[in-house]
């Protein structure tokens, strides 16, 4: 089964199977030492740049801004959801999200 992942609307949305699922403007707490110097970045998502999968986890790279220290930058891969039985299920993005910066191969569909 194929899941269609796309960045739409000039980077404003992550679309999963032709349905807009994750939006810019969310505030994410990130465990991302490479993003800024805060223990936990509190980042406004301003633009989705890329999407991919790691196993069943849908992840994105975004441009955003830490509202604590003001750093504006591009993130590594951030998990935002999982594909379960062919359906996209949101991860709890109110909690801390762990960012991976490794360059493992990701695909645009799974």
């Amino acid at each position: 089964m194929t899941t269609r992942l796309r960045i739409l609307d000039d980077g404003a949305w992550l679309s999963v199977d032709d349905s807009r699922r994750v939006s810019v403007s969310e505030l994410w707490r990130l465990d991302a030492p490479d993003f800024c110097e805060c223990d936990l970045a509190d980042m406004v998502v301003e633009n989705f740049l890329e999407t991919g999968v790691d196993g069943r986890t849908v992840q994105v790279r975004v441009y955003g801004q830490c509202i604590v220290c003001g750093t504006k930058s591009t993130t590594g891969w951030i998990p935002v959801g999982r594909v379960v039985d062919g359906e996209f299920v949101d991860l709890d993005r109110e909690g801390v999200l762990r960012v991976t910066d490794d360059e493992e191969e990701v695909k645009s569909s799974c």
């Binding site: 000039d10 404003a12 032709d18």
Partner: protein, 582 residues
């Protein structure tokens, strides 16, 4: 690798989209296959239809392109009738009601809550009256902008309307130019006031004199690669070309083709021609245009009139076209302020009546989201100005009403981060009631854009507001970045973003404190833009001073995640079903 959008465009794009649009209108919204919706929604834009945002499935924004903002006699009535009959949906706006038209910063018109099944009837009605949505959105020639009072303006160097009309007729529907790497925004200005705002367009023609065979000839200098979007604002670059009016179409077509062939189709973030100009430089753009895209020798740039520009400059005369102005023929054009560009359908129809009663019936739209009634004779002027409708759409508004521009915002737009139009109305009303500008300052431009797409042109205002998020008392709330001192003119400059992430309920207080400091500390007669110029960012940040005041903001929460921010139950769970076909 080409993007998804490029792949979709390579399958179906341009004029042919119309037959598919009509097929889906006939068969029903639900017949668009789920796995083709992203593709079709992208394509529909070429015919002026944007699917509205999450929670509003099956409803569309429709953009009508009115070249140079020109509405011929009778056309505004058609717009009002279409808005009244078709632009009604399940959400009611608490300020503007159920049916309205938005006048945009590119002299076009937007309607909301349009159902797909109504599109053929709407198109038929519009086309009977010379209106169209063709190429109002999408990757092609967009609505051509300029000085809306072309042909009538006393400050005119050359009447640009015949040139604009020719470009519009040539490049609307032209298969060679219908699939560009990205949008293509063109400005053609014939007046000496700079009201075409050429500097922020992909391609700008600005009035200029050139000595040809010993005679001064009026034509246009050419600039390429301006635009405000994506945190990457650019002013259009001078490519050292002057062109006579009869050659504008050749040069414009050459540059459009150059963009078509050389723009980046693998990365939409990098696709606008401003990035190509960054990469090549103005000189290479000119050389390539000369060698590959035109078959005559290009002239070097002529003598421009940029030092006379006043429009949106933050100082001097005529920063907008609001008020009563004498036309070349002795009649008058009357610019009416439309706060944030939105006018209820009933008011649109009443304005159409007044334009016919007092003028020629013609109405024009400016890039400051205002309307202009033309051809009002002196003998009719007092009676026109005494009409009740002009109390609300005033030719002499408060500076805060006059200077307010806002984009669509989260009410309908997928891109926006915050609610905008209603908020800007509330800001303007509060500022009018509580803040005094110095007596000699009668214009103060505040532009509110919901995101970095910059549809409200925030970077060229005295005060630029741009959608953001922050936390207040631990809660995520809508916020605005504050920029200061932007404006156009001979030496245009973008606002400097001096204060970040001000919670929206503290923005009016911040502006009040800033204006108080300006009033106290300015030099005699100093404009706000000049005042900003002589302060550094840290000093300005201190003057902004965010503060809670009597202003209350009912939309602090994440309006993007509502189905409609003004609904009693605005949660996504309460969203209406897609409209039934009827």
């Amino acid at each position: 690798m080409p993007t998804d959008v490029e792949n979709w465009k390579s399958e179906v794009y341009g004029n042919e989209i119309r037959e598919h649009l009509f097929r889906f209108a006939e068969e029903g919204f639900e017949t668009i296959p789920d796995d083709e919706r992203d593709a079709w929604f992208e394509r529909f834009k070429w015919w002026g239809l944007y699917h509205q945002r999450n929670g509003q499935e099956g409803y569309f924004m429709m953009r009508i392109g009115t070249p140079n903002g020109m509405l011929e006699p009778g056309q505004l009535r058609v717009v009002g009738e279409i808005a009244d009959e078709y632009a009604r949906g399940p959400g009611t706006n608490p300020i503007f009601g159920d049916a309205y038209a938005d006048f945009t910063t590119r002299q076009a018109i937007q309607l909301h809550w349009i159902e797909l099944s109504d599109v053929p009837a709407i198109f038929e009605k519009m086309e009977e009256h010379g209106l169209t949505t063709q190429q109002a959105c999408g990757d092609s020639w967009r609505n051509i902008v300029g000085n809306p009072v072309a042909g009538k303006d006393g400050q005119e160097v050359i009447d640009a309307w015949p040139v604009i009309r020719d470009l519009n007729e040539t490049f609307k529907g032209d298969e060679d130019h219908s699939n560009l790497p990205r949008k293509w925004k063109v400005s053609v200005t014939g007046s000496a006031d700079g009201s075409g705002q050429g500097d922020i367009n992909d391609l700008a023609f600005e009035p200029a004199y050139k000595e040809i065979d010993g005679e001064d000839v009026v034509g246009f200098n050419v600039r390429v690669g301006g635009g405000l979007a994506r945190n990457e604002p650019r002013f259009a670059r001078d490519i050292d070309v002057w062109v006579s009016p009869d050659r504008v179409s050749d040069v414009a077509g050459g540059l459009s083709a150059l963009f078509r062939d050389n723009g980046d189709r693998e990365d939409r973030y990098n696709a606008r021609i401003k990035f190509l100009v960054d990469e090549w430089g103005a000189e290479e753009v000119r050389e390539t245009l000369q060698e590959e895209y035109v078959d005559f020798d290009l002239h070097a740039a002529g003598r421009d009139v940029r030092e006379e520009y006043t429009y949106n400059t933050g100082e001097g005369e005529r920063n907008d076209l609001v008020g009563v102005h004498e036309q070349k023929d002795g009649k008058n054009f009357v610019g009416l302020n439309v706060l944030v560009g939105r006018m209820g359908a009933e008011d649109v129809l009443e304005l159409a009546d007044l334009a016919e009663e007092y003028g020629s019936g013609e109405v024009r739209l400016s890039q400051r989201q205002n309307v202009i009634v033309t051809d009002v004779p002196d003998s009719e002027l007092d009676d026109f100005l005494a009409e009740d409708l002009l109390e609300h759409y005033s030719p002499e508004p408060s500076p805060f009403m006059r200077g307010s521009i806002a984009c669509t915002g989260t009410e309908f737009c997928s891109l926006s981060i915050v609610e905008t139009k209603n908020r800007q109305v509330r800001f303007a009303r509060w500022l009018k009631q509580h803040v005094d500008l110095p007596d000699d300052v009668d214009e103060f431009h505040i532009h509110l854009s919901g995101c970095t797409a910059s549809c409200a042109q925030p970077q060229i205002a005295d005060v630029s507001l741009r959608g953001m998020k922050t936390r207040k008392n631990g809660e995520a709330v809508e916020a605005l970045d504050v920029g200061l001192g932007g404006g156009l003119g001979d030496e245009p400059q973008f606002a400097r973003w001096v204060t970040q992430r001000v919670p929206v309920d503290e923005v009016p207080g911040a502006l009040a404190n800033l204006i108080d400091s300006f009033a106290d500390e300015r030099e005699e007669g100093e404009s706000f833009r000049a005042f900003v110029d002589r302060h550094d960012d840290d000093e300005l940040d201190e003057l902004v001073e965010p503060e809670e005041t009597s202003y209350e903001d009912p939309m602090m929460h994440n309006t993007k995640m509502t189905w409609y921010p003004y609904a009693e139950d605005d949660s996504m769970d309460a969203k209406p079903p897609a409209p039934a076909d009827d």
